[in-house]
């Protein structure tokens, strides 16, 4: 059983390395994103073999969503269809090679310098519960603060970039509501030409 696990582990690490290498050899943004996803999925499965059941499956889950969103944005901004117009995917060679070498050396040093746990997991140990206690126990403040901050940033970015503002179209000069119904806009002098104010919006339709 352990030999079988070892074989699967080696195969998966080979697959992770191969797909990671193909990321740089392909000629399309979308293929690139999903090759990276395959690499991460292989890593997630390796974590499953190492009895990290939650982190392993969650890696697959998160990477699928992340790479999907990344691929979508790439297509939206660089509509590179499947095979019609191949792209050259690598640039800034020297910087990339240097960064790669430094990262590899650093990670290798970290692995060699640290003492990795070698004892097998005692059977029946509730690993998921332990992980949850760790995440939502002493580290909860950090994780929750970071999570809520990120969410607020995302929402704020969308609101700031959207043309359809809360007080009307951003291109027509958004205007805060008056202090009394129908009154002059609060906190601002009416200085625009007012071109957009009698524009009839499409969203005022009847709901009946």
């Amino acid at each position: 059983m352990t030999i079988l696990t070892d074989i699967v582990f080696v195969l998966l690490s080979g697959f992770a390395l191969w797909t990671g290498w193909r990321v740089f050899r392909t000629d399309s943004m979308v293929r690139c994103a999903f090759l990276l996803m395959l690499s991460f999925i292989a890593v997630g499965l390796m974590m499953l073999l190492m009895a990290a059941v939650y982190i392993g499956v969650a890696t697959v889950f998160m990477m699928a969503v992340e790479m999907m969103v990344m691929a979508l944005f790439m297509v939206m901004f660089m509509m590179n269809p499947a095979g019609l117009n191949p792209m050259w995917m690598v640039h800034q060679h020297r910087l990339s090679v240097a960064a790669g070498v430094v990262a590899f050396a650093g990670l290798t040093a970290a692995v060699l310098a640290s003492t990795l746990p070698a004892e097998p997991l005692p059977p029946g140990r509730p690993v998921v519960r332990d992980l949850g206690t760790e995440l939502l126990g002493p580290s909860m403040l950090i994780f929750e603060t970071a999570g809520v901050t990120l969410l607020a940033t995302m929402v704020a970015t969308v609101i700031l970039s959207s043309r359809r503002g809360r007080f009307g179209d951003a291109m027509e000069g958004a205007c805060p509501p008056g202090l009394e119904p129908g009154g002059a806009p609060a906190g601002r002098a009416e200085s625009e030409s007012g071109g957009g104010h009698h524009h009839h919006h499409h969203h005022h339709g009847d709901h009946g």
């Binding site: 792209m87 050259w88 640039h91 359809r164």
Partner: protein, 347 residues
């Protein structure tokens, strides 16, 4: 043995037909597809038979040839109530104007599946319209990471945007005149960002369909297809097919079904509003009410250009708006958006 079983199973399937609808043929085609022996294919790739029906403009012939070649083998063309089409010359079958078309289509389909009838060869050479003109140091299309004009088509590049300032890639292409979701004959030159229509020019207006003012129920049924309700649309068409113009139809059950299926709620209020002609939702209500009273379709409202209605809309909303427009009104709206007069269409 197994192969012949598979063949006989396939021969019993409804024949998948893609209809190229010409002038004056829309209503007849809609009634034809009420027959259970036929499937109306949404894409030519899904069809075995190409049914050519009605009158076409000279400009449409090249598109008709391209459409023909998009059908996978085995394929066959059938002409029904179609005038002579110089330049469109597949072998095909000519059907008598009063033939049992569904039966004839299915017979040709069975012959195709059984191998008794040879598949039609392509009409056009299968090669890119222009040579590959890739540039760049590494064989990619353009300079750096984007751009280029592979096969004569400019690659999409980022462009200003009408909606949210995301400035996505703009994709420009002609759509129609045989697109199943468009009114037959309409050909639009569109620029899309994501699925938002950024620019619109009408290359060819839709065909005149004199018979289709026949019943408002028929117009209402067309609005249900983009809503994903083909079943209810078929029930409406079946009711409309049996009625002479001006006869009141029983629509209470259809109106109830529309409400229960959330068709009215699915239509965004204010979508496709025309001064004096309501929005998509009120037009659907108006058509049903008119059908119930045996009246003609309600007044379509003040004239507008098609681009005023469709630019800035997402594709699905644009298809709903297109389906909701009274055919005569739509033809006038298209003329307002045609870059040159129809007489210049020599190319």
């Amino acid at each position: 043995m197994a192969v012949s079983r598979l063949s006989s199973l396939a021969a019993a399937a409804p024949a998948p037909v893609y209809a190229a609808i010409g002038e004056g043929a829309a209503a007849a085609i809609e009634d034809l597809f009420l027959d259970a022996r036929l499937d109306r294919a949404a894409s030519p790739r899904h069809a075995a038979l190409l049914l050519v029906c009605g009158r076409f403009r000279d400009d449409d012939i090249a598109d008709l040839c391209r459409l023909h070649d998009q059908l996978p083998h085995p394929r066959a063309t059938l002409r029904w109530r179609a005038e002579a089409l110089p330049g469109f010359t597949p072998d095909g079958v000519d059907l008598a104007p009063d033939a049992d078309v569904a039966a004839a289509l299915h017979a040709v389909y069975r012959a195709l599946v059984a191998g008794a009838r040879a598949s039609e060869p392509a009409l056009l050479p299968d090669e890119p319209p222009n040579p590959w003109r890739g540039r760049g140091d590494h064989g990619q299309g353009g300079e750096g990471m984007m751009g280029g004009v592979p096969y004569g088509r400019p690659m999409a590049m980022t462009d200003d945007d009408l909606r949210d300032g995301l400035a996505l890639d703009a994709y420009a292409a002609p759509f129609g005149p045989f697109l199943s979701a468009f009114p037959p004959g309409l050909r639009l030159d569109l620029t899309l960002q994501g699925d938002v229509i950024q620019k619109l020019a009408v290359a060819r207006p839709p065909f005149d369909q004199p018979l289709e003012a026949a019943h408002p129920l028929r117009l209402a049924a067309r609005m249900l297809l983009p809503l994903g309700l083909p079943g209810l649309a078929e029930r409406m068409l079946r009711r409309a097919a049996g009625l002479a113009p001006g006869t009141p139809a029983a629509v209470a059950d259809l109106a109830r079904a529309l409400r229960w299926r959330g068709a009215r709620a699915a239509l965004p209020p204010g979508l496709g509003r025309i001064p004096g002609g309501g929005d998509v939702r009120t037009r659907l209500d108006g058509l049903l009410a008119a059908a119930g009273r045996g009246e003609a379709a309600p007044a379509p409202g003040a004239p507008m250009a098609l681009s005023e209605l469709l630019v800035g809309r997402e594709w699905a909303e644009a298809m709903l708006v297109l389906a909701s427009l009274e055919p005569g009104w739509l033809r006038r709206a298209c003329r307002a958006d045609m870059p040159h007069a129809p007489s210049e269409d020599a190319a």
